[in-house]
């Protein structure tokens, strides 16, 4: 099995927000937090495109690189998770993230942000799989139940794909082959095609 990946097919996304709603409901996240967003470009003009964005679970995650307390960790499937017991809410990850994924539930006059919250690829966090504590802090752990992220499962047009990166690629390649045009794996270069400085040269 390859690593887990998200792919949003902008040719199919219809800006219905089912992914956002499914996520909110599954993980019972408070108002003000959106682990997933639908971003619409050229709204109302010709060439309008929408895309659903959450944490992409990057290969070399910038959030993990900048975290001063090293609260991030990686599952064997390549999912990027974090430990809210370690998180100090500094917000560095928010500045580092190219996708705007980290969310902060509260803000007071001294700019203390509270513990960071983000998409877990429906894989929970450090507490035991499926425990009440895990659900409270990180939401449902569907991966431990052998299920895929609910946002992608609920997507009516199957624009949002989430799962084994090889399978996701296969589905997408079939689509592009059938419909023609150029492939547009939005976000994949940033998230998954990490090259070291040496390799770039």
């Amino acid at each position: 099995m390859a690593r887990m990946k998200f792919l949003c097919d902008a040719e199919r996304c219809i800006d219905c927000n089912s992914c956002v709603t499914a996520c909110n409901n599954e993980h019972d996240v408070p108002w003000g937090i959106n682990r997933r967003h639908v971003v619409t470009l050229r709204d109302g003009e010709s060439g309008e495109k929408s895309i659903s964005v959450a944490c992409m679970h990057c290969t070399d995650a910038p959030c993990a690189a900048v975290c001063p307390v090293d609260c991030f960790y990686f599952t064997p499937e390549g999912i990027v998770l974090h430990d809210k017991d370690l998180c100090i809410g500094c917000g560095y990850c928010f500045y580092a993230c190219p996708f705007g994924a980290p969310q902060f539930p509260e803000e007071n006059s001294f700019a203390a942000r509270g513990k960071m919250d983000k998409c877990t690829f429906c894989a929970g966090g450090p507490p035991p799989d499926g425990s009440v504590e895990e659900y409270k802090l990180y939401g449902r752990n569907r991966i431990a139940e052998g299920k895929l992220p609910l946002c992608a499962e609920m997507c009516a047009t199957k624009a949002l794909l989430g799962g084994d990166g090889d399978v996701v690629s296969d589905i997408y390649i079939q689509r592009v082959t059938k419909r023609g045009g150029r492939p547009d794996t939005w976000g994949w270069n940033t998230a998954y095609n990490f090259k070291t400085d040496k390799e770039k040269k």
Binding site: I14, C16, N17, T21, N24, N25, W31, D43
Partner: protein, 453 residues
Amino acid sequence: MLVISDPYPTHMAVMSDRKNDTYLLPTSTQYETSGTATASNRALQWRDKTIEPVFESKPDHVILYLLAKKLGFEKEMFKNIKVTNDEPLIEDVLREINRGAWTIGYTGQSPERLKMHAKYRGTFNPLTLKAEGGPCKGDYYGLPWPCWGKPEMKHPGTPILYDPSKAVAEGGLVFRAAWGADHNGVSLLAADGIYSKGSDIKTGYPEFTSDILKKLGWWDELTPEEKKAAEGRNWKTDLSGGIQRVVIKHGCAPFGNGRARCNVWEYPDPIPVHREPLYTPRFDLVKKYPTYPDRKAFWRLPTRYQSIQEVDHSKKYPLVFTSGRLVEYEGGGAEERSDPWLAKLRPEMFAEINPKDAADAGIFNGQYIWLEGAEGGRIKVRAVITPRVGPGTVFTPFHFGGWFQGKDLYVKYPEDTAPYVRGEACNTATTYGYDSVTQMQETKATLCRITPA
């Protein structure tokens, strides 16, 4: 007396200042009862109850039974339906529909067949909707109507209307002969050579009656009991289903083989013509494209057309005002605005305004505006400035409620029942006007003006 039967209090529930004779009936959602749901592809799907009705809410069929009981005719109304503890048996309700709805072929979808489909839904091909094998073999998922004849006939349902490439018994169909055999000397039946696969009649034919069956020599294929029930009847009044059974055996469609018409001769406009709306932004076009004269009695009601259109409203109300749907909503929106996750997506009522019109009116994105309809109804909403609407057009969704002309009616909801999101109902600002055939209200084409609030 006003009774509102809904899972949540609607806009209507808080609009009046009545102190008496107003009731809110908490009605269960679909999750709190079982039964069938019919989709827009004409397929029926059995659904199971997932939770018991919460609090004191009751499902629709229980409410109807209790109402009939109170009015004293529950014995007649439910004489074919088993009732246990004031709850009519849903399966019996469907069986009653099966026995009566011959005109559209709502007859073959028995609860047993639909439950079987639900149980074996994995055996249906998601593209063709057909079960390739298994206990439902040959059926189309949900038996889309027309599902001809009695359930025992095992018609597979009709997945595509008017597909003559298949036999009627296998879900094929021809166009319904719905308007008689001819009109003004022109035949309305299908031309020679137009028929569905396997049809014994190779040309157009009218709907089937007992007389036609006799003429064709098919009458004796009915059983004696069927003959008794079918004598002097047609395919939709023969409650034995015998006419349908025999006709389909001969590859024919019970409702005839006709052709579509583009001239609806009984309508005010047999072929649609352009008529300016009653409240038109182009008053100069009214002379060329006038509406209908006022009607004294239209479905018994006096209905105005011309007397409204002949006044020019476009000077005072220069913008077209239209309303429509948001993807996550259905109807008045009381349910969706009471759901925390859907409410969160659009926390306020808004109007979409083109950047040009916003600039002309001095309105900034996100500010409150007054939108005044051409009859003076005013709504206070947030401005969303966007090229989604063209210059000269203002759009609002129709799913909001709980505000009236700038005032939040929160205090009028019973405690803890107000939706999370409340806003102006757009039809506070829409205007008079009714369709010339159906009398459907005009909510899509009127005028407004906008000012910063």
